[in-house]
């Protein structure tokens, strides 16, 4: 079944730790995205990729980095987590044309203590 997977679903981590949020999709989509979601706020785009070896920063300033070495895999890394990074992180993918809208993963809820 074509889908998009995010792990872990929940993560509580101490300040200063390095973490990687995983995102994989089985649909062969060219485009992938990372969004940050906070209650009552619009989704903020933090990173996106239009294909292998292509990554761009989004609208929201972020201290995270991403990589796209394989089409299906788009991990997000925080080198040194801070309490301000506490949020829900959503990964999404879409076909090249975007006509179909986005397919979202179930999200990773990150808490930095």
């Amino acid at each position: 079944e074509a889908d998009i997977y995010q792990t872990p679903r929940y993560l509580v981590i101490g300040t200063g730790k390095k973490i990687t949020l995983e995102c994989s999709q089985t649909m062969g989509h060219d485009k992938m995205y990372w969004y940050q979601q906070d209650p009552g706020m619009e989704l903020h785009l933090i990173h996106y990729s239009y294909g292998v070896n292509s990554t761009e920063k989004g609208d929201l300033s972020s201290e995270s980095t991403v990589s796209r070495i394989r089409t299906e895999h788009f991990p997000l890394t925080l080198e040194s987590a801070r309490p301000s990074h506490t949020s829900q992180y959503l990964c999404a993918s879409s076909e090249r044309s975007d006509n179909g809208g986005y397919t979202f993963g179930s999200g990773t809820r990150l808490t930095v203590v």
Binding site: Q6, E42, L43, L45, A92, R96, N99, G100, F104, G107
Partner: protein, 114 residues
């Protein structure tokens, strides 16, 4: 630049009653419009989309939306809601064509009351 406004942050409605969730957008170019639903502890799921053609768009779970270019609106409607429709609903807009940025609204929480 484009923007999306969802005026209602919360909408309570009784089961089997009709509901309308409002969405207004602004954009200087032709647009694609989307509605997504997010159930608790889940990601967003595409409900329906408007790309071109008929202004009345039907989606999953009995929802429909009407594109009104003159009023720059894309309101979501359902004639009779169920408890299972309790969720948060997000309107989104992008410029028409590929490689266009998508802007999401702040969401409307639909609470269906038994």
């Amino acid at each position: 630049a484009q923007s999306v406004t969802q005026l209602d942050s919360q909408v309570p409605v009784f089961e089997e009653a009709p509901v309308e969730l409002r969405c207004n957008y602004s954009s200087s170019v032709s647009v694609y419009l989307f509605w997504y639903v997010q159930y608790p502890n889940q990601g967003l799921q595409l409900l329906l989309k408007y790309l071109s053609g008929s202004t009345l768009v039907k989606g999953i779970n009995g929802f429909e939306a009407e594109f009104n270019k003159s009023q720059t609106s894309f309101h979501l409607r359902k004639p009779s809601v169920h408890i299972s429709d309790t969720a948060e609903y997000f309107c989104a807009v992008s410029g028409a064509g590929g490689y266009q940025k998508v802007t999401f609204g702040t969401g409307t929480k639909l609470q269906v009351i038994p």
